[in-house]
């Protein structure tokens, strides 16, 4: 598969060490998922935003680092760009959820409206979470 790899005897052991270290970091990331801790819709909204903010911090360093190959930096920049629209939709869904909850508390609407807003919010939380997963993988390139 990688015959060129065999030409340099130092490459394989060095790469093995790198892969072990990077995989350790990746496994640790999987165990540290704020969304696994969150319970309510408000907490899940907070968890996905905090996760997104954390990944963007790393992504910002990544895309600005000229020692990293341009194709990898472009891939991260593109993934972040695509996730931005999902982030806006998440914020809109949360505003609608809060409004529906307030209206229900004031007796100005039915629980059906809150249920719709809650489902909508959960959908956008899941969509941003799904966008964040590949971004986390890209950042380990």
């Amino acid at each position: 598969m990688h015959r060129r790899l065999l030409r340099n005897p130092w490459t394989a052991p060095a790469v093995s060490l790198l892969m072990i270290a990077a995989l350790t970091a990746l496994t640790a990331c999987s165990a540290l998922n704020p969304l696994h801790v969150a319970q309510t819709p408000e907490q899940k909204y907070a968890a996905v935003k905090l996760t997104y903010d954390a990944l963007l911090t790393v992504a910002q360093t990544f895309v600005a680092d000229q020692t990293i190959p341009p194709d990898a930096r472009r891939a991260v920049q593109s993934a972040v760009g695509k996730s931005g629209e999902l982030y806006k939709s998440l914020n809109t869904a949360f505003v609608e959820y809060v409004a529906a909850k307030s209206q229900l508390a004031a007796g100005a609407t039915t629980s059906d409206k809150l249920n719709v807003a809650t489902t909508n919010l959960a959908t956008w939380v899941a969509q941003l979470e799904a966008a964040v997963g590949p971004l986390a993988v890209l950042l380990h390139r």
């Binding site: 030409r7 790469v15 319970q39 905090l50």
Partner: protein, 91 residues
């Protein structure tokens, strides 16, 4: 999910290996790149630890983000989105 993420990572890494292991210089670049990836991975782990701790505090206090916390988080995210979009990446 975790297995898929690891497989994706391995796939990307082996492709990079194939592209960059043709010379001594390529090996050095790969090592520099790998070191950077590990540094960033460690930074990401630390940030996710902090985020998990914040959410755990919210669960313990039975609340979500306050308006001020949400506004600050929005500002932080938007600033990073803008900075990443504005970064010029030359070939």
């Amino acid at each position: 999910m975790q297995v898929v993420a690891i497989l994706n990572f391995l796939n990307v890494f082996t492709k990079l290996l194939a592209e960059r292991s043709t010379s001594h210089d390529g090996t050095i670049k790969l090592l520099q790149f790998g070191t950077k990836a590990i540094e960033l991975g460690a930074e990401g782990v630390a940030l996710l630890e902090q985020a998990t701790a914040k959410v755990q505090t919210m669960v313990d206090e039975n609340r979500g983000l306050t308006e001020e916390e949400d506004a600050a988080l929005d500002a932080s995210i938007q600033a990073k989105l803008d900075a990443i979009a504005a970064t010029k990446i030359d070939a």
